[in-house]
């Protein structure tokens, strides 16, 4: 099972939890946690149908720890893959559906606290639980997770209580991303390109 099958179960309401750990570093402790009976029963109790896991370099490891049949996975369908250049379809699968794909309930995205993953997930109308990787101590994942939680954009999850974070986010209404322009901040109208154009040698 290398690629998640997205076209299954059209005849019922699906609800997906998408776990992404990024492409660069492994994050085995998070992979372990999302297949624990505690986490899977929490998903089941919140009516989740699918668990999609992006494992990065740890795909083989994940295949050895995941439950091998549905009894052990408490009825949650688990699919896994290593990496995809574009994770948009997975983010979309775990976010709120529109009228065209009505057979979907707003899921949850559980991601490591890499800035690329956070931004990628927030672009979708979804619920994001961010779990900093404690093994990357100089990576400042904790900083950004705490900061973004304090601003109300996501929920900061910690290893050992990711299930609780998912329960918590299920009842929360999060702030919409992107935030509006910040007062006192530069380049809010034109972004980075405005800064580039400011320095670009002027032609005559």
């Amino acid at each position: 099972m290398s690629e998640a099958n997205l076209d299954s179960t059209h005849n019922r309401l699906t609800r997906t939890a998408f776990v992404t750990i990024g492409a660069t570093a492994g994050f085995r402790s998070l992979l372990q946690e999302v297949v624990t009976p505690k986490f899977l029963t929490t998903l089941k109790s919140l009516d989740f149908t699918d668990l999609v896991v992006q494992c990065g370099p740890d795909l083989e490891y994940f295949e050895t720890i995941r439950p091998d049949h549905s009894q052990k996975s408490y009825g949650v369908k688990i699919t896994s893959f290593s990496y995809a250049p574009d994770l948009k379809k997975y983010f979309a699968q775990a976010s709120r559906g529109n009228d065209e794909d009505g057979g979907r309930d707003c899921g949850v995205i559980i991601s490591h606290a890499g800035s690329g993953s956070i931004i990628g997930a927030l672009e979708f109308d979804s619920k994001l639980v961010t779990v900093p990787n404690p093994e990357l101590m100089d990576n400042h994942q904790l900083e950004i997770a705490e900061d973004m939680e304090s601003k109300g954009f996501l929920v900061h999850g910690t290893l050992g209580s990711v299930a609780e974070a998912v329960e918590k986010i299920d009842t929360l209404t999060l702030r919409k991303w992107p935030p509006g322009p910040s007062p006192g901040s530069s380049y809010q109208k034109g972004g980075l390109w405005e800064a580039i154009n400011e320095l670009m040698p002027q032609s005559s």
Binding site: G22, A23, T24, P85, D86, A113, G114, S115, G116, I119, G120, N139, H140, Q141, E143, I144, E146, D147, W177, P178, P179, G180, P181, S182, G184, S185, S186, Y187, Q188, K189, G190, G191, L192, W193, E194, A195, I196, N197, E198, L199, M200, P201, S203, S204
Partner: protein, 291 residues
């Protein structure tokens, strides 16, 4: 040597081949100089005050190398509308942030060129840049806009993870040569003299971005490139909320960036500009992503 074929090739691509040969010879000379300086470097590495000497030697290498490559075509710039920006992609999250910031804010410019500098071993960044450029072409052509030209050039890293410090001077020299090449090679897609050098160089770290800004500064200070060009922008990562990264600290303390942008209020100071959430600005892209 098949001279007939050479003539045909030369007729087709003109002076481009000659330039390449010229650069090739110069690169060879620089390699020689580099190796000479390297022996000095290794010598000083065993003594105290290494960092000062190493930095000095590095600057000499940049100066000599840059001079040899650039002396033939000076810094003549004709005043015509151009827009040539060089973006340096560090790795992983840094590349993702860079693309995110550019994709949100980019506008169509007259006669524009984008150059992306990507690590030689960094296939993921390469793919991301290519995917972005494809999206941009689709998006701009939907609106009948000129998306300009782009190229991607690769650099060797100064030091790889777990690399021995003994071999680091070697790889640093190779890396510096790549950096000079990327800064000084005119875009092949454009033959406009004013596009000889990037007008603006943007990086958001890590490591190699610092070297790029250092080389750009040395080239400008030595007037090898016009001082109006190679203006530098450093954007501290959006993930840096409470403290600057090491690259950011280095660049700020050496004042290597003409514009130093931080994205968190806690980091704002008199030498840098606060621009929050540059990743998501402007809120509404000037041209919609999906037309």
């Amino acid at each position: 040597m098949d001279t007939n074929r050479d003539r045909v090739v030369q007729a087709t691509i003109g002076s481009a081949l000659l330039d390449l040969l010229k650069n090739g010879i110069f690169l060879f000379i620089i390699m020689g100089c580099g190796l000479l300086i390297l022996s000095i470097l290794i010598d000083v590495l065993s003594k105290p005050h290494v960092t000062g000497n190493t930095l000095g030697a590095t600057i000499i290498i940049i100066f000599v190398g840059g001079y040899l490559i650039l002396k033939t075509d000076g810094g003549m710039v004709r005043e015509i509308s151009t827009h040539y920006v060089l973006m340096i992609c560090g790795s992983g999250g840094h590349t993702a942030e860079m693309i995110q910031m550019v994709e949100r804010s980019i506008c169509s410019e007259k006669s524009s060129h984008r150059r992306w500098a990507v690590g030689k071993d960094d296939e993921k960044s390469y793919d991301k840049v290519l995917a972005f450029e494809n999206r941009l072409l689709d998006r701009f052509s939907c609106h009948d806009l000129d998306s300009g030209t782009f190229d991607i050039m690769r650099f060797r890293r100064a030091r790889y993870v777990h690399q021995s410090w003994l071999t680091t001077p070697f790889t640093t020299i190779l890396s510096l040569l790549d950096i000079i090449r990327i800064l000084a090679t005119p875009p092949h897609q454009r033959s406009i003299p004013a596009l000889q050098y990037p007008g603006v160089v943007v990086t958001n770290g890590p490591g190699t971005g610092f070297l790029f800004l250092l080389v750009a500064r040395v080239l400008r200070l030595s007037h090898l490139v016009p001082t109006s060009h190679m203006r530098t922008i450093y954007v501290e990562s959006w993930a840096r909320v409470r403290s600057l990264s090491l690259t950011g600290k280095l660049i700020r303390s050496l004042k290597l960036a003409d514009l130093f942008i931080v994205q968190a209020p806690a980091l704002a100071g008199h030498n840098n500009v606060l621009a929050e959430n540059l990743l998501a600005m402007p809120e509404q892209p000037r041209f919609p992503f999906n037309a």
